[in-house]
Symmetry: none
Subunit: 201 residues, 2 copies
DNA sequence: AAATTGTAGCGAATAAAAGGCGAACTGAGA
DNA sequence: TCTCAGTTCGCCTTTTATTCGCTACAATTT
């Protein structure tokens, strides 16, 4: 982002030319189109725009400029178009993009932070090593919610929360692990899980 | 963290100008727009607004102002502080929040859309019914990547992609399901999975 | 009431990008 | 190999941002 006036003119010329002619302009054509007398100036503009990620090009290749995102009033940094369900029986292009999804949908107006999950104690919950859980900072939880909890100020752990009279049961979602039972006053809830984010390499 | 009346006027001018022209104003243009006679005053406003987190800018860079959240009473829409790893042995408050995570980290500058996962064909991959996969629109994939693929223009499915000579193997991540083998020309790749998002009720 | 702090404003001096030039060099394709 | 579009270089001008010292006012704190 952060384009200057002149750079926008260059960009507009590039996309206009490519649109009309079907191929990108040579540096000489760009110079002519912008009223410049030196190809070095054109080159500098192209380099600057490339550094800002506004276009692609190949080294020493003729007419290899490819404007990348010029006319995209919608920035898909946060909100993603929801194209439908997988296995819907149609190519995804065919599906109208009426809906969308975003992090703010999960977060709302709550105070949320992320934690990287370490270990496999939530494997049965399909939360695995390296995933990020999105946690609302709160000190209370309801029956069955996944919480970040401390027992006696020791390790913070990710467990399902159940209240059984005066004691609290913290249930790992891994059948090989045993639940933790503790009196409510020794259990400190730090937050509850609203969502999960995974990043593939 | 409240904005003053004058600061709001500055902010409104900035986003209006950027919206109309496609690039951000210079300090001189801002001064003219607000009836100021000194660029120092403009600079002070910009600095104050930057300190309040209302805009981004680059040092000494022309027209690099980027209004960040103008109409968003919500706290964190995109970027979340990463508080550390779960089971780190400390209360999460104690951990410094040097890092952060966001959707844009996964997306980058690619064209990405979301698909709601239906069914359990990716269960072994810990992607389950109701999850959202974040898909980059692309027509090629590399060995082992999770792709959205169509065979003979039929149902779009989520599978791992393997190339075995002239044929393609589409491997479901569910041990109960059989892989699909098909000649490469009958397989159309619609995108590859960059990440996954889950929302708890 | 006095001192402090933060916002708002001015003009001038300084420094750094951005924009521009011509000339010489380089590499991909014919 | 020859050509020409693209690249690199040194140098210049213009535009733009930054910093400094100063005044004034309003809201808080002491």
């Amino acid at each position: 982002m952060a384009i200057t006036r002149r750079q926008k003119e260059v960009l507009d010329f590039l996309s206009g030319f490519t649109q009309r002619k079907g191929y990108s302009p040579s540096y000489e054509e760009i110079a002519a189109g912008l009223g410049l007398n030196s190809l070095a100036t054109v080159h500098k503009h192209i380099t600057n725009l490339h550094n800002k990620g506004m276009l692609q090009r190949s080294h020493n290749r003729s007419r290899s400029i490819d404007v990348v995102s010029q006319r995209a009033p919608k920035k898909f940094t946060d909100r993603l178009p929801l194209m439908g369900r997988i296995a819907a029986g149609k190519p995804v292009e065919a599906i109208e993009t009426a809906e969308s999804i975003s992090l703010s949908e999960i977060i709302g107006s709550r105070e949320v932070f992320a934690l990287e999950v370490h270990g496999d104690s939530m494997r049965d919950e399909h939360i695995v090593n390296g995933d990020y859980v999105l946690v609302e900072r709160t000190s209370s939880a309801r029956e069955g919610e996944i919480v970040v909890a401390l027992v006696d100020g020791a390790d913070a752990t990710l467990k399902r929360f159940y209240k059984e009279g005066a004691v609290v049961r913290l249930q790992p979602s891994n059948s090989e692990m045993a639940p933790i039972y503790a009196p409510a006053e020794r259990v400190m809830i730090q937050g509850k899980v609203l969502g999960m984010l995974r990043k593939y390499a």
